[in-house]
Amino acid sequence: MTDTKRESGVTDTEMESVESFAARSRAWLAENMPRTDGPAMNRGFGFGSDEEELAAVKRAREMQRTLFDGGFAGICFPREYGGQGLTTRHQQAFNVECAGYEMPSLFNVPTFVPCGAVLLEFGTEEQKTKHIPAMLRGEELWMQFLSEPSGGSDVAGALTTAVRDGEEWVVNGSKIWTTGAWWSDYGLCLLRTNWDVPKHRGLSVFIIKIQQPGVEVQRIEMINGSREFCQEFMTDVRVPDADRVGEIDDGWTIGRRWMFHERNAMGGGSPFVSGPATGHRVEAARVDPYVALARSAGRLEDPRARDLIGEARTLQRAATELSNRIADGMAAGAFPDTMAAIARLMSAVVGIRAANIRLDLVGAAAAAWADGDGVAGVGTNYLMRQQAAIGGGTTEMARNNISERVLGMPRERTLDKDVPFREVPKGPPAR
């Protein structure tokens, strides 16, 4: 029990009301967190110098610690693992209250979700006690070692292999599309442990320390100059069996829940994500970012530009309310978890349209601009538009999931079901 809670007179046996929690959050945030009126559409990680990026990571770790000490870290994580043991409604209330404050949102994805959420569901008591409080204190940043160069959406087709050697496993292969693996601590890793059974029945999940010999992290440069993504090459990395999560060869049981948590976070519906919801972030900004862009471009009075501003805000609001509805429905047990794919799809559809709207608002400035222009960066961001529809599971996968698992429509035919993974057709080896 934290001091803050003791002061509020809340006992272990009764849960604090959402209203009281919101009021307490409001007061605490005003007291302890820095205000921000920075741009709502920030450029994210991977753009500054390495020193700047490391400083930002350090700051996020410190702020996460401040949240932890204040009793506001891990609102929906159980109290025995350092969380607050509260409900989705409490988290939503906090997300509203923290709009306008700088938050350590770096920890949300993938540290808290999906990694923390997966550990909570499948980890041993020892793994949970060791890692979840450390995440919530800002001491451990995690990455998902999931996708491989050989296949994107088909994550169960992992080729990277762990071979048992006594009480250890020896890992060889490569994972890709991890954000900032070079400054992260652990990877939650899906590995092939059996090539002689069908694809989904020969996988296992491990916890792998990133900063160790045998794990080589290479950074990838993206079209917009970002170097946030990494590829890891693992050569004879030895992993203790105690760092295996779940049963041997049963990794896909975990994998499916892992995907669910990821989709849920992408769609804005995960209870483990803490920070201002997109819509609220926009409301908290002093000036709507689309209005600011139209003004910078000298188009604010153009009715076409005003139509685009109205559309952008409409879509953002629709995405927010969709996420809220799905989170509420899942929390009430009225919606199946598979519906998380709907919010994931929406975030991509809205993100794509928003990128087009920004492009139209700035006109020729998307192609040519001067440093310091208010419209700088719009064109370059547009080049990366499809990231919203690729990362975290493609929209094609989301549409398959919605039609097959939510609406019950027939599954796509596959050629990798009932044959040993060794015999599944594969393309030429990737890098």
């Binding site: 109205g310 409409t314 009430a332 799809l345 559809v349 398959n400």
Partner: protein
Amino acid sequence: MEVTLDDDQEFFRQTTAKFLAAEASPATIRALAANPDGFEPAYWRQGAELGWTSLLVPGEHGGGSISGRGVVDLTIVADAFGRHIAPGPLIPTNVVAAAIARSGTDDQRQHLGPIIAGDTMAAWCFSEPAPHDGLGTVSVRATADGGGFVLSGVKSPVEAAGQADILLVTARTDDGLTQFLLPAATDGVTVAPLRSIDLVRRYARVELDGVRVPAAAAIGVVGGAEADVERQLQLAVVMQAAEMVGAAEKTFAFTLEWAFDRYSFGRPLASYQELKHRFADMKMWLEASHGLTSALAREVQDEVPGAPETASAAKAYIGDHLAELMQDCVQIHGGIGLTADHDIHLYLRRVTADRSTYGVPADHRQRIAALVS
């Protein structure tokens, strides 16, 4: 409609659904197409008994809601209206009842009893024809004259004006927006029926030609009715949103069923990935529309400052996306979806009517830009 309803709301939903299933079958709707009023008075009185007309009126004025949150309860009725293409002036009656309860004098509140009982119909004369058809444009003049007012101008389209006993007219005085409550039979009021896209919903053009009303006909603050008009618009949009969601939900369900049952090239339509992905998009539009409608109902109920933008976001999104959903469902049905025999056009008509009135999506996008810039 919210994801979860309380027991009383669920009972209310079921009662309304059962009543509409019996009294507003597609066959009944088709038969009512020839009825100049689009519904039978006895049907409306029975609906009123179920609670359709009382939800926005506080108990002290003879109304009452199911959950204590009348706007939220009303979305349950509007959703059912969409699922059944129900006849009857749900939107105008509730808007006018709410306006009278909120801003009416004791005399004006005498109308509430008969409205709630389903004996009196009311219409809100708000929209105007081109060139004054921008959302919220009011050019109808109210000129002070000998202690009363003279109203001049045209309102169109006005839902249920031809069936209404009383009219709520939004006009402009020198001081600003002013609203009036007057009998439809007042001298100088001409109501000309229009053709309607909906089989059972009726619209009319209302011409006000030097209509003399007493000062007591003004409702709310003379020259200061902006907040009342905004509230009425929000209420109309809440009902439209919920109704479009109900109609689209129903259409989506029978179109999905059709996709399973219909075979081409030896496979059900439902097995084609191209169609599966379109159903996934439609499901997304539907759930987002549900979410927006619930959020809007809560905000209008609680009169939060952000409600005007939420109303416009809901209308802009739902008006565009659920109309598109309806057309895509027609497409998936193929030629049969374009025939008068198939029921799908009943729903398409209702969604088109809702999309096109109280501001089209483009109007609401402009309104959002005005609210935030």
